[in-house]
């Protein structure tokens, strides 16, 4: 059974809501797998805080821990949950309600009865206004 799509999306959004966690993900995206110590050297927060954020990111599936040199854990970016959240956002962002409102307004303007002379300019500036 695939994990619940919405639960994954929610975890991704929670993870991304925090600027420090976005910074960690951006660092892993830009420079590849890194240890908590590497990240602490690059980002303006303590290693302990980094470790806490990495745990949350791992729970959300956005990073995986893997063995690195000298038995230190390295974190690798995992973008699969991001792709799923992205799909959710893409569907929400396709805003047909406003587009169809605009189409309706446009057609109504085109076919409206000729406006009274004193209202000729009330629909300002559209070259496609009432003929």
């Amino acid at each position: 059974m695939p994990p619940d799509d919405e639960a994954i999306a929610e975890q991704v959004f929670v993870a991304l809501a925090d600027p420090t966690r976005r910074g960690i993900l951006a660092a892993l995206a830009a420079e590849g797998p890194a240890t908590a110590t590497d990240l602490a050297a690059r980002l303006p927060i303590t290693r302990q805080a980094i470790a806490k954020h990495l745990t949350l990111l791992a729970d959300a599936g956005l990073v995986t821990a893997e063995p690195g040199e000298r038995r230190r854990v390295r974190y690798r970016l995992r973008s699969a949950p991001m792709q799923r959240a992205q799909r959710f956002l893409a569907a929400l962002a396709s805003d047909w309600d406003s587009r169809l409102d605009a189409l309706t307004d446009h057609l109504d303007r085109q076919l409206a009865p000729p406006p009274r002379p004193d209202r000729l300019t009330s629909r300002s500036g559209r070259a496609d206004g009432p003929q």
Partner: protein, 143 residues
């Protein structure tokens, strides 16, 4: 529950299909309600481009032209990089109702973004996605 793969809307318009058709398929018509500057080559395989006043653009590929009942195109998905090949398909269907038109729009294909079944394959290519993720993060940060 899954992610929405399909968006569907229906509106009743007090205008005949021919009028609606021209608003949907001509550069002048589209520029009046959709993009600000529009070019369109109205035939299957033809290209349309829309540009907005904020500088954003969207390019479309015309897929179905059955005047005055079906107009379909594919276009880029919002939020993905410009060179991403994934597209959603949008289809308008016009049905005469009395002296007006029932217009239905269906957009499908959001689920083509990687499903769970492909997780392993995508994990193997995680580094290939890194730059895309970076762009997404910039996009989210800027929002």
């Amino acid at each position: 529950m899954g992610f929405p793969d399909r968006i569907e809307r229906t509106v009743e318009l007090a205008h005949p299909p021919a009028k609606v058709w021209s608003a949907l398929t001509t550069a002048e018509g589209l520029a009046a309600w959709f993009g600000h500057e529009v070019t369109i080559d109205l035939r299957p395989g033809g290209t349309a481009r829309m540009r907005w006043s904020d500088g954003s653009t969207k390019s479309m590929r015309v897929e179905r032209v059955e005047e005055p009942t079906v107009f379909g195109f594919t276009w880029q998905i919002d939020g993905l990089p410009e060179d991403d090949v994934r597209r959603t398909y949008v289809e308008f269907t016009l049905e005469p109702v009395g002296s007006g038109t029932r217009l239905r729009v269906v957009e499908t294909g959001f689920a083509q973004l990687p499903p769970d079944a492909h997780r392993t394959a995508y994990d193997a290519h995680t580094q290939g996605w890194a730059s895309e993720l970076g762009e997404l993060l910039e996009h989210l940060d800027a929002a």
